[in-house]
Every structure is written in structure tokens, then in C-alpha cells.
């Protein structure tokens, strides 16, 4: 069977879902016909969307039931408003009852929708609590990051709460977007128009080298699907079997050591050098496959 390549970066939210899940398995909750739009955008004479920029529903992947939310980066940068955020929170709460194999968050968002900033900030906090509650109930939550808006602001925090983060090189993950930093701190701090710099500071290869992304995949939906299938094939993280305090103490130690090891780092090149890549300058040009092979080699060398 020949599989048509669908660029994850270029596809919209619905096309990503269609190519990600088992054919015909997707059922949407609160579909556009129900017209859950944002009254706050309407008040500002801004365009509204009948799904408020996020598609939520259930499907199967390789026969396993999942709940999923896909943010539409082409609508207001995937930003989280009251309705948009409530759909994601409701999905995560539903997971505690439905007990799917996983919740998939197809994150493509600059964070809080500033047109309804307070509602968006609170919604993100509610999503954070709901992710933690789903995980506490034993449901793995996976983030997929490969869209044009990346995962920034509060959605960058939500992404880092997830059990697994699948990224393409084109995916970007952070907190404050380069444009915001440039506006406040100046172009000398962060030149947001220097696209290669932006990718070296926020992109998938940087996040994978730091261990923040758990997999780097190619920019096609089939590669993301393969990554999801690999996650689903692993046993779910046993919340009861581990002492969370010890896990968090270890995470604390890892984060502190990273900041000490990379005290002078300002660029992804510094991170790749520190990780042990033989030619850091060449890393941006590597395919995902070559990158993963080199990373496996340098990590094996560190361990030996």
C-alpha cells in the first residue's frame, strides 16, 4: 500500500487527525455544527471559528482507543481562549472516565489568546490541573509538536507536563516566543527574524538533545503516527508503582545539573556540542534519522 506523504507542518488540524488515526475511527465532540464560538472575539470584531480553533474527539490508533485534541494553528495562532481551553479540559476530564490508552494533544499554539487573556490564562491553568489529574488516574498524555505555531506560552508548559513529547525538527517548544522577547528586550537579545537561530533555540533537535522531546520524527503525519504507536506499545507509566517524590527529586536534580553544565549556553550549537555531537554546526542539516542515530551513539558513549 502506497501511503501519501502529508506534511504535519503544512496540514491543518483536521487533516492531521485524518492522517494520524485509523481510517473512519474519528468521532468529534462538540463539532462545528454546534457552533461553540468565542463571544469575546466577536466583541472585538475579530473572526470566529465554529470549533474555536480546536478539534476534540475520540478515535483509535492501531486499534487502541485514544482521545485527542488538535489545535488549529491557522486560527489565531492556535491560541487558547475560554471555549477553546474548556474543550481541551473537558477532554482530559473525560479521559479519567473513559480510560483510553492515551490522550493525544496535537499542540499548535502560541499560548494564551490575548483577545480574552484572563480567560485564556485561567483555562491553561485548568488544562494543567486536568493533565495532572489524568496522569494521576493512570492515563498517559502525549504531546505532538510539529505545527507552524509550535508550543509556546502556557501550552509550552502543558507540553512539558506530558508523559511523552513527539517533535519534528520544524516543531518549536518554549515559553516566550522570540517576537515577545525581541519586543521587550531588543533585537540583540533575540532576533526573531533569524529563522535558523529561532530553530536552534526552540526546535525539535534542540529539545531532543536536551531530553525534553522524547522522540524526533520526520515532518510527515505517518512518522508522528509511528511515534504514537511506539508510545502506545510501551507499558503505561505505573503511577502506583513508583514513589512520585523520588521521581520528582531526580527531575529536580537533572534540571539543576543542566543549568550548571550549560551555564554559558546561548545557542543550540552549545547544547549539541555539550551533548557530544561530533560536528554541532552540521546538526541543523541532518535528517531526523541521522540525528537520532548520532544521538544514540553519543548517548551510548556517555553511558560507557
Amino acid at each position: 500500500m502506497k501511503i501519501k506523504r502529508v506534511s504535519y507542518f503544512e496540514a491543518n488540524a483536521r487533516a492531521r487527525i485524518a492522517a494520524l488515526v485509523d481510517e473512519g475511527s474519528f468521532a468529534e465532540f462538540c463539532p462545528p455544527e454546534l457552533r461553540h464560538t468565542s463571544p469575546h472575539l466577536a466583541r472585538l470584531d475579530a473572526p470566529v471559528a465554529f470549533d474555536d480553533g480546536v478539534v476534540v474527539g475520540r478515535a483509535t490508533v492501531a486499534g487502541q482507543p485514544v482521545l485527542l485534541a488538535a489545535q488549529e494553528g491557522k486560527f489565531n495562532g492556535g491560541a487558547v481562549g475560554e471555549v477553546h481551553g474548556a474543550k481541551i479540559r473537558g477532554l482530559l476530564e473525560r479521559a479519567v472516565q473513559d480510560k483510553p490508552a492515551a490522550v493525544l494533544l496535537l499542540v499548535d499554539s502560541g499560548g494564551v489568546r490575548l483577545h480574552e487573556a484572563n480567560a485564556g490564562l485561567i483555562a491553561i491553568s485548568e488544562i494543567m490541573r486536568a493533565v495532572l489529574a489524568a496522569q494521576a488516574a493512570g492515563i498517559p498524555v502525549l504531546a505532538l509538536v510539529g505545527g507552524s505555531c509550535g508550543a509556546f506560552g502556557g501550552m509550552g508548559i502543558v507540553t512539558r507536563l506530558c508523559d511523552e513529547v513527539l517533535m519534528s525538527e520544524e516543531g518549536r517548544l518554549g515559553l516566550s516566543g522570540p517576537e515577545v522577547i525581541e519586543t521587550v528586550k531588543g533585537v540583540g537579545e533575540f532576533d526573531s527574524r533569524d529563522r535558523s537561530l529561532v530553530w536552534r533555540v526552540t526546535g525539535g533537535k534542540l529539545r531532543r538533545a536536551l531530553g525534553e522531546a522524547t522522540a524526533l520524527v520526520d515532518d510527515d503525519v505517518a512518522s508522528f503516527r509511528a511515534g504514537v504507536e511506539a508510545c502506545l506499545a510501551r507499558p503505561a507509566p505505573g503511577r502506583d508503582a513508583i514513589d512520585d517524590l523520588d521521581v520528582l527529586l531526580a527531575a529536580q536534580d537533572k534540571l539543576q545539573r543542566r543549568r550548571a553544565t550549560l551555564a554559558d549556553a546561548r545557542d543550540g550549537l552549545d547544547v549539541w556540542r555539550s551533548t557530544g555531537f561530533p560536528d554541532p554546526q552540521a546538526v541543523p542539516m541532518l535528517t531526523a534519522e541521522s540525528f537520532n542515530q548520532q544521538l544514540a551513539v553519543v548517548q551510548a558513549e556517555v553511558r560507557s
Binding site: A86, R94, L114, A119, I122, L132, I181, E189
Partner: protein, 244 residues
């Protein structure tokens, strides 16, 4: 400017061991005769990775100490005073969002281990710096004069492409958009707005901690926001997805 006299008003002069180190608040106190831990940020901190990890380390220390001693889990009183996250290329490179997620996870662990968690907003609570721990707590109280908002209006203007003047005008009357602790109260994210008096803070604090202990399980902020009329859609839409 943050004022250390706030701790005397909250816990009584000499009734606490709260110390300020840079932008970190750390110490202990007695509330209604029982020990509480005090952790937070100070002087409108721009929260960077070091400060976030100092907060998470303090939370983990409290959890570990009480677990080791077999003690009743102490309430944790968070002091939130932050202008938001530190804006820098270095912090982005090193994953400041991951540090914030780690803080939230530590607060969530404390909650599940039975530590009541309460945030007192002193000064300002802005955006990412507020998301990390202030908004994760069970209950949030705004002290007199507290400011709550998302983002500098100039940066907001550039991102939304809405002229600054229009944003400034809208900010005066929109609860969903405009800065202000009272707007966050209406939307269910702030539970108490403390009146502008110096008296009775100790009693208010004791009552707030008692309210945490007796609160129902789960995140009720959207339901409260609907009851108060500040956030009319969030609970209904979440329920529609839950029950679809």
C-alpha cells in the same frame, strides 16, 4: 516594592521565620497554633529557571520532611509576587517552560500528599510566573493592592496587531481581557479579595486554610466563574465535551 511587614501582619511579629533571599521567599510560621510552610517569589520577580527550581526544591523539601517525620502534612502558603517569566534567549534555550511544569508537578504532588496549598498574591501576579505555582494552588487570595494580568500591553499589541490605543481603551471595561484581581475573582480563579485594612489578616489566613481543608475535590474554578457571571461558557463547554 514588596514589604516584609506583610509577614508580621499575616503571622504576627516574631511569629514566623520567613526570610527573603534575592527574589525567593522561604520560611515557616504558625497559623492558629499549627505550623505552615511559606514559599514564594518577591519584589515583582521575573521568574527564571533558578528561581523556579528554588521554589520547587522548597516544595519537595517540605513534602520530604513531613513524610520522613510521619507528620501531618503542613499547609503550604505560597507568596506570589511576579512580573512574569524572565524573557531571555538563554532561558528559552534551557527550557524555562519545563522548569515551570516541574514546579506545577511538585505543587500537585504536595496536594496529593495532603498538604493544603494556598496562594497569597502580594504585589503582582503576571502570566507564566503566576501559572507555575500561584494558580496551581487549591485556593488563591489577593492581598490589598494586588495586580493580576497576563502581559505588557505593548507586547500584546504587537502580537494581536490591535493598536495599543484600542487595547488601552478596552482594558478599562472588559473583565475577560482587562488586568485586575477583581476580574480574576469574577472568573473564579481568585477566591478572596482581602479588604484594604491592616487588621485581622491572621484570622483571614486561618479561615482561608480551613476553607482549603473543607473544599470538595477537583478543580471548581470554571463552575465558580459561571456562578459569579465572569466566565459563562467554560464550565458548560467542558461538560458538553465530557458528556458528549
Amino acid at each position: 516594592m514588596s514589604d516584609v511587614a506583610v509577614f508580621d501582619r499575616l503571622f504576627g511579629a516574631g511569629g514566623h521565620t520567613v526570610e527573603i533571599s534575592g527574589h525567593l521567599v522561604r520560611g515557616g510560621a504558625q497559623v492558629a497554633g499549627r505550623p505552615v510552610a511559606v514559599i514564594g517569589t518577591w519584589n515583582a520577580a521575573a521568574v527564571d529557571g533558578d528561581l523556579a527550581l528554588a521554589v520547587s526544591a522548597a516544595v519537595l523539601q517540605v513534602v520530604a520532611e513531613d513524610a520522613k517525620a510521619g507528620a501531618t502534612p503542613r499547609p503550604i502558603v505560597f507568596i506570589a509576587d511576579t512580573q512574569g517569566q524572565e524573557l531571555s534567549r538563554r532561558e528559552e534555550l534551557l527550557g524555562l517552560n519545563g522548569c515551570f511544569a516541574h514546579v506545577a508537578r511538585c505543587v500537585d504532588l504536595a496536594r496529593r500528599r495532603g498538604h493544603p496549598t494556598l496562594t497569597l498574591i502580594h504585589g503582582e501576579a503576571v502570566s507564566g510566573g503566576f501559572l507555575a505555582f500561584g494558580l496551581v494552588a487549591d485556593r488563591v487570595c489577593a492581598l490589598p493592592g494586588a495586580q493580576v494580568r497576563v502581559m505588557d500591553l505593548r507586547a500584546m499589541s504587537r502580537v494581536t496587531k490591535i493598536p495599543l490605543e484600542r487595547l488601552q481603551g478596552l482594558a478599562k471595561d472588559s473583565p475577560v481581557f482587562a488586568p485586575g484581581a477583581d476580574n480574576y475573582w469574577r472568573m473564579g480563579a481568585v477566591d478572596e479579595l482581602w479588604p484594604d485594612t491592616d487588621e485581622g489578616w491572621d484570622e483571614r489566613l486561618a479561615a482561608a486554610l480551613a476553607a482549603v481543608a473543607s473544599a470538595p475535590e477537583g478543580d471548581r474554578r470554571a463552575a465558580i466563574g459561571a456562578e459569579r457571571g465572569g466566565r459563562t461558557l467554560a464550565e458548560a463547554v467542558a461538560a458538553a465535551v465530557r458528556d458528549a
